[in-house]
């Protein structure tokens, strides 16, 4: 019922964090836009576009998540260092 006192540091949203957020959102846009890849050409080593494109997105989204990971980790370290000072 009573909210805990809000003396704590509020989450600060910095520009890099926004970039991290964008990295995490991009796969959703790419994947949910099914019409953009629901076709068979061009094929890659005989595999229709529909399949190799989505498998390529496994790699792309992994890259994007990794970028987000590095950014968030840096942010947390900086914040921790700031809190100790």
């Amino acid at each position: 019922m009573s909210e805990p006192p809000k003396a704590e540091r509020r989450p600060i949203v910095t520009a890099p964090l926004v970039v991290a957020g964008v990295c995490l959102v991009i796969p959703f846009i790419a994947i949910l836009w099914v019409g953009s890849y629901a076709k068979t050409d061009p094929a890659f080593i005989g595999i229709p576009f529909f399949y190799w494109y989505q498998m390529a997105w496994v790699l792309i989204s992994t890259g994007l998540t990794s970028i987000a990971y590095v950014i968030v980790r840096r942010h947390e370290r900086a914040r921790k260092a700031g809190a100790q000072r």
């Binding site: 805990p4 809000k6 949910l32 399949y51 498998m55 989204s61 990971y69």
Partner: protein, 547 residues
């Protein structure tokens, strides 16, 4: 299906199975807590002492999420209908950016307050035993058929190897191999807890990776390359199915199927980490960053899943003809591989069923113990009693799954699994919503959950297919949009709308909001912060949470 027993394949299969069994029992001693008091607690048995690092967590989560059933069912779906069955790949692409945002918060708050299950968190956050009970029951209900399907996966492999599948043998001989596999699974889960599947997951994933790599290179060479495979598959999909009057499938989603494809991928992604077994594996990790790091390496499994899905096309091109689609891939292996390697492949699938079945039964047992037994039956239970009840319940859950598989038609298990996915998604607002905001009202969440459950169940019941009158699929028309989409996601949207509207109303009339025992900093706490311990002492883990 039965051409007699494949002796070589069976020999290899049995060899791996025995090796894994020995490992399962030895696992009890692996990375064990030195502290004797600790050894009997639920944290030890049910979360492996919460000590797993990046790689073990990776294997454990991989072994947990990519189950034997997945390995059998995904290519089977592709074999049956083509593009529509491939949704498992976009689904697993979306999972990782999604969990990146909320799982670290769940880890932190759970380690700060000693939560073992998602229901523990919901109770602590919203001060509502009712809501916590709803989440726990949903979790248990959704997990049971999932365990049953793992046994179905083992059955498929045994069938193709020529043991246990015959129509003429009596039921006991027929089911004996499955009973043995089951007894072994139950025994080592009971004695070793979460450590057993974690250790066995190494073997399972090693085998699976080898099998997939070999299959994806060796089979296309034998079949004349991907060009030929897809040409043959495309031709097969054009054949009109006499039962429906429509083509069997398509190589890329047609206009009408795109909503279904997208909503199924999104809905499944949202649902995956609501399953208790995914959370169990997550909470057993050592720190927040272990989880985040895992979101960057777990997609390796998605890649493998994509390759595996392509096996469905290869089964068509290789001329595999099975009535039961579940047998398509085991049959492909049997036809294409030399006997000994077919044995390795079958062992991979068989062991692949044991790991998740063990974790799922532990997760369901944790839910029962913490959120039903301790909250409603015996609030004063000691940590040792909790662990004991959990062990027994995990056994009961598995027996239940076995009875389910042996007495009922396989389609019943699959129907329930489909319903389970729809149901578990309805716990998303309470769990993930609760991780970010306390704005939602507990009663509104409960009402939203109920609406989603009822809508999802009724809608799924009404879906007919050529072979089934009810539960014929997971897609239905989306009200208001008119496209065909995933029922679970529609139910979820309804759930959220009800929750938001009722929250506004309940806040306006100042309905009691319940006590929140967490504070904002709990959600970002990490190892080393005050109050956070990697291994929780039993006193904390067993301490009464919220009242």
């Amino acid at each position: 299906m039965n051409h007699g027993v494949n002796g070589v394949a069976l020999g290899v299969f049995v060899f791996f199975f025995v090796a894994v069994t020995v490992m399962g029992f030895l696992a009890a001693r692996w990375r064990r807590a030195d502290n004797v008091d600790n050894a009997a607690s639920l944290d030890e048995w049910g979360l492996g002492g919460r000590s797993f690092g990046t790689w073990i967590t990776w294997f454990l989560l991989g072994g947990d999420l990519y189950t034997a059933y997945t390995f059998v069912a995904v290519p089977a779906a592709v074999y049956a209908a083509g593009a529509a069955g491939f949704f498992a790949v976009p689904y697993t692409i979306l999972v990782y950016p999604l969990i990146f945002t909320f799982l670290p918060r769940l880890w932190s708050v759970s380690h700060k307050h000693g939560y073992v299950t998602t229901s523990d968190f919901v109770r602590g956050r919203f001060g509502s035993k009712g809501l916590s009970l709803a989440v726990a029951l949903t979790g248990i209900l959704a997990t049971m058929p999932y365990i049953a399907l793992q046994l179905v996966g083992i059955q498929a492999v045994l069938d193709v190897m020529g043991v246990g599948g015959g129509e003429n043998t009596n039921w006991f001989v027929k089911d004996l191999p499955l009973l043995i596999a089951f007894a072994v699974l139950a025994a080592y889960t009971y004695s070793s807890g979460l450590r057993a599947p974690a250790l066995i997951a190494f073997v399972k994933d090693g085998l699976i990776y080898i099998v997939i790599l070999v299959a994806i290179i060796y089979i296309p060479i034998k079949l004349g390359g991907f060009d030929d495979i897809f040409a043959k598959a495309g031709h097969a999909f054009e054949q009109v199915n006499p039962a429906t009057g429509k083509p069997r499938g398509e190589l890329a989603s047609g206009d009408k199927a795109q909503w279904a494809y997208g909503t199924l991928a999104l809905g499944s992604a949202l649902a995956l980490f609501m399953y208790p077994h995914s959370i169990t594996a997550t909470l057993s990790s050592r720190s927040r960053n272990v989880i985040r790091r895992n979101t960057t390496i777990l997609p390796l499994y998605s890649l493998m899943l994509g390759l595996l899905a392509l096996l469905g096309f290869m089964a068509i091109a290789a001329g595999v003809k099975v009535k039961n689609g579940q047998l398509a891939i085991p049959q492909l292996f049997e036809n294409m591989f030399p006997d000994w390697f077919a044995g390795v492949a079958f062992a991979a699938i068989g062991i692949g069923a044991l790991v998740p079945a063990a974790i799922m039964s532990i997760a369901a047992a944790n839910l029962f113990t913490r959120n039903i037994y301790k909250d409603f039956i015996k609030p004063a239970a000691t940590p040792a009693q909790e662990a004991k009840v959990s062990k027994l319940v995990s056994l009961l859950v598995k027996v239940g799954a076995l009875v389910f598989v042996l007495t009922m038609d396989k389609t019943v298990a699959i129907n329930f699994q489909l319903l389970g996915g729809i149901w578990i998604l309805q716990t998303f607002p309470a769990l993930v919503g609760g991780l970010f905001t306390r704005w939602f009202h507990r009663w509104a969440l409960l009402a939203g959950w109920a609406v989603g459950m009822v809508y999802g169940t009724v809608a799924a019941y009404g879906v007919a297919s050529p072979t089934q009158k009810h539960f014929g699929g997971s897609n239905d028309q989306i009200p208001g949009i008119g496209e065909i989409g995933y029922i679970g996601l529609t139910a979820f949207v309804l759930n959220v709308i009800v929750t938001v509207v009722l929250t506004v109303v309940l806040r306006a009339v100042k309905a009691p909001a319940g006590v929140d025992e967490t504070s904002p900093s709990d959600y970002t706490a990490d190892v080393g912060d005050p109050g956070v311990q990697a291994e929780l002492p039993p006193a904390t883990a067993g301490a009464p949470g919220g009242h």
